[in-house]
């Protein structure tokens, strides 16, 4: 039955990891609960809004347009992340790199043109 004990030993690792994970959560939350002072004041239970007194409730609607713009920003951010390293070694990558980067930029541009045609860029 050595194979069975082998198998149990293998899975002991998984159990130990799970146990350590659970213990860590309990330890951190428990320790902070024990160590922190608890003096309740009405000001402390207000929604934190960077030091300013909050206006309205936490359930306010925000403009969905900000989200779309953030998405477009991420698109160009990612583009830059790939273009900068390529540009520093432009000659080494040669024609192959140029074609690859051309395809990459084309597909990203397609996304921008799509957003433009669907009226996302207009701030009505």
């Amino acid at each position: 039955m050595s194979s069975a004990s082998d198998f149990l030993r293998e899975y002991l690792t998984v159990l130990i990891l799970g146990g350590v994970g659970a213990a860590l959560v309990g330890l951190l939350l428990g320790a902070s609960h024990l160590l922190r002072p608890a003096r309740r004041q009405p000001g402390k239970s207000l929604t934190y809004e960077s030091g300013v007194d909050p206006v309205g409730t936490g359930w306010t609607q925000s403009q969905i347009r900000y989200y779309v713009f953030a998405l477009l920003f991420v698109m160009f951010d990612v583009e830059a992340v790939f273009i900068f390293p390529w540009a520093t070694r432009l000659e080494a990558y040669g024609g192959f790199g140029l074609v690859e980067m051309g395809i990459f930029v084309f597909i990203l541009l397609l996304g921008l043109v799509y957003a433009w045609r669907k009226g996302v860029l207009k701030w009505v």
């Binding site: 293998e10 998984v14 597909i107 799509y114």
Partner: protein, 493 residues
């Protein structure tokens, strides 16, 4: 810094992916240029594009060098991967056929729908060839992210939003677990290539390897909706638009299995002692629990979802017998399951167009007023049960043969589970058939259901595939069995 050497691209081997990428760009450009006028043609262009990408697959399959290796062994095109690519593309074509009326008549965005569908298929074809953790992960995300959006495609239907949200959250959670496991495997072996990982973890064992293997398996178990990681599947399948459900249940699940096949077949074969218990437990649980819950379903789509979980169990089982033809059995089962399941979804959609519901009770007396659909659905249900000579019987045979030939303890237990569950499953599949044939039709149902041409065509393709591959499975077996050349051996660029 070492000099950069441009990899030589085997354009022929990459042609299917290039065609699909081109189709995605063309669909997007059409939408951008024509706006609403594009709606009339996007469906046909997506369908033609998918058929077009089959051409290079056929030329590759008949060429002299069926096995081609690229990027230092990270990307392999061999007969099995060609078969799987063809499976994905044909499934997607059938889904396009299912979609044309459904998406056109409903309140849906059309151009984006097809664009996302084809990009998801692109991810699947890449997955079929990926032999590297990074390519596998990129392919997995490329196929999943469009699928998350498609699941929520009925924008104003709360249940569809719920479907997309559940699928998205569970999918991202699974990706995180998978990445954690992958990072452990990479950290131990120092390579992202599956064959190198296989060599490294075969030589020396460590607790990190066990953890890596378990996490990777759990990550993929989410994708193939194996119990106990299945809870998203029924809600997602019921809420998503029905063609998308068919796509998720067939193509997306198959892609998860393809990833498992690569990872297990190439990297984990030498750590079978770690892998077998996990996979065996997942398989046995999926089969049994999927079937038991399916017994109590009154909605056909939910029943198909739970039966899909049970079928995933049948497909997971042969991994235990990987060295005894188990992998081939999985590939065979995947193809037959895809044909049968797509057919079943097509018929259910055709019926639901009239009855506006997918409740089993609404199928009563279908044979009396729409005999063609009743016969077609009966064929698919009988194939699910595994009655020869219809499709899945051969898949079940291959699975059982692999399990019994391996003679391992786990494999034998699983073989018993497969046999028992096939019997349980027969009850609920045949119960639907009984309702169609023997129950009374609801009041006023006498005229046959009008089926649109595209749906007719989809049912036809699935019917032909289910019957033909069940009667004559020879070519399928040949394509699913890898040649003697070890695909794992990394060759030069």
């Amino acid at each position: 810094m070492p000099d950069f050497v441009a990899p030589t691209l085997d354009l022929h081997a990459l042609a299917p992916e290039f065609v699909l990428a081109g189709v995605v760009c063309v669909l997007l450009l059409l939408d951008v240029v024509l706006l609403d006028r594009a709606k009339a043609i996007v469906g046909s262009i997506a369908g033609l594009g998918l058929l077009g990408s089959l051409v290079p697959i056929l030329t590759l399959a008949t060429s002299d060098h069926p096995t081609r290796t690229m990027f230092g062994g990270s990307y392999v095109v061999d007969s099995t991967s060609l078969l799987l690519k063809a499976l994905f593309i044909v499934s997607a074509y059938v889904v396009v056929l299912l979609s044309t009326n459904y998406i056109g008549e409903g309140d849906y965005w059309e151009s984006e729908y097809y664009t996302l569908l084809v990009s998801s298929v692109l991810g699947m074809t890449v997955m079929a060839s990926a032999r590297d953790l990074i390519s596998i992960f990129v392919a997995l995300e490329l196929l999943s992210i469009p699928a998350y959006m498609l699941a929520a495609w009925s924008k104003r239907d709360g249940r569809s939003n719920e479907a997309g949200m559940k699928y998205y959250l569970m999918g991202v959670f699974a990706s995180a677990i998978l990445l954690y496991g992958m990072s452990l495997l990479y950290g131990w072996s120092g390579s992202t290539q599956l064959s190198e990982i296989g060599r490294a973890i075969g030589e020396k064992n460590s607790p990190a390897v066990t953890l890596g293997v378990v996490f990777v398996l759990v990550g993929f178990a989410f994708k193939v909706s194996a119990v106990p990681f299945h809870m998203w599947a029924p809600d997602t399948y019921e809420g998503a638009p029905t063609p998308v459900t068919a796509f998720l249940a067939v193509a997306s699940k198959a892609a998860g299995f393809v990833a498992l096949i690569q990872v297990i077949g190439q990297a984990l074969v030498l750590r079978m002692n770690v892998m077998i218990p996990v996979v065996a437990v997942l398989a046995a649980l999926s089969m049994t629990i999927g079937n038991l819950i399916a017994l109590r379903q009154t909605n056909v789509i939910r029943m198909l979802a739970y039966s899909g979980i049970a079928q995933a169990g049948f497909m997971l089982a042969p991994f235990v017998a990987s060295q005894y033809g188990g992998i081939d059995a999985i590939v065979i089962y995947l193809v037959l399951y895809a044909a049968t399941n797509l057919g079943a979804f097509a018929v259910v959609m055709a019926i639901a167009r009239r009855t506006r519901s997918a409740e089993i009770s609404s199928f009563g007396g279908l044979f009396s007023y729409s005999p063609g659909l009743a016969v077609a659905l009966s064929v698919f249900l009988a194939s699910f049960v595994g009655i020869p000579p219809l499709g899945i019987w051969y898949g079940k045979l291959s699975v059982m043969r692999a399990l019994i030939e391996s003679q391992g303890r786990w494999a034998t237990v699983l073989a018993i589970f497969v046999a028992l569950n096939t019997a349980i499953a027969a009850y609920y599949y045949l119960n639907v058939a009984k309702t169609m044939w023997f129950d009374d039709a609801p009041e006023g149902e006498s005229t046959p259901i009008k089926v649109p041409t595209s749906l007719r065509f989809a049912v036809g393709i699935a019917l032909v595939a289910t019957i033909a591959l069940g009667v004559y499975p020879g070519p399928l077996t040949d394509a699913a069995t890898p040649e003697a050349t070890p695909a794992a051996a990394p060759s030069g660029r």
